[in-house]
Point group: C2
Chain length 185, copies 2
Amino acid sequence: MQLNTLGVVHDFLARCVKPGSFCIDATAGKGRDTALLCRLSGEAGRVLAFDIQQDAVNATNKLLQEQGLCARVILDSHANMEQYAQPETVDCVVFNLGRLPGGDPKIFTQAPSTLTAIDAALRLLKEGGVLAIALYYGGENGYTERDAVLEHLKALDDRRYTVLLCDWANRRGEPPMPIFVWKEH
Amino acid sequence: MQLNTLGVVHDFLARCVKPGSFCIDATAGKGRDTALLCRLSGEAGRVLAFDIQQDAVNATNKLLQEQGLCARVILDSHANMEQYAQPETVDCVVFNLGRLPGGDPKIFTQAPSTLTAIDAALRLLKEGGVLAIALYYGGENGYTERDAVLEHLKALDDRRYTVLLCDWANRRGEPPMPIFVWKEH
């Protein structure tokens, strides 16, 4: 396992996404996570990916095509994901919050739509399903979204959800936090 | 994986301790982690276990015997572990800090010897080796040791160590924190 957030999140996904899973990449970006979810859920699986930028949708479709993979890539806000899936049917939702890794540092997700999207994702999850978040913060994005997300997750009812926050405690440079939320059975 | 600290730590150990590993259980207690380290490191491995209570040494030896496993169980403080192993030879060190799970709530580890033991463990680790900590706090133990451990780990040089702190962010009842420290190559 690579000792960074991507390594921790991908290692986690590789262990929890099974062939046939229904997965959502809430922040498609360049499509790297979308492609991983397609590989892990396999031919019998189903993957939706969301991005509000046409460039990201194009880049994701291009990557999937190059790798012979298939997902439905949707040009819409992840805050609207409930328009595209039924409640309690999704096994796994992945978010990269804050800036896009390797993308334009001036474009980032924002607290209000992020919190709406997280709540939508939690409603879409099956019992036993999981949310995996890489929470970027600092830089031009600042701390408002991070603090709002952390407060929101800390307030989730622990009879319905289990939240595990991870932090690279001694790393300089404000590395993203890996966060996992399980929906209880 | 069980969604608690023991589940997270044991899952982690199962993936990083290989046959032939040299492991240390810094807080033997009832011997549960010692037995796990013996099983994971196998016939070719080696396990030391420390406890300052004779009862714990006896309980650990009894459990190992029942399970047909073998470790050297030492009646001494984990702060002295460098007297029993060479520097940079150990693959994995496990600590349960704070109260002993299932044990007497009035007996717990204390910050000064804990910090000494953590530093000793870090010196004993090979490059690529790992420290796994279940950090109990609250109750009669309070927060002094927890805060001292967290401060100490946050101050570790990030060119030599990677520290991942995990926290059950929405759980009531102050569950222990799983913590992992890798020694860099």
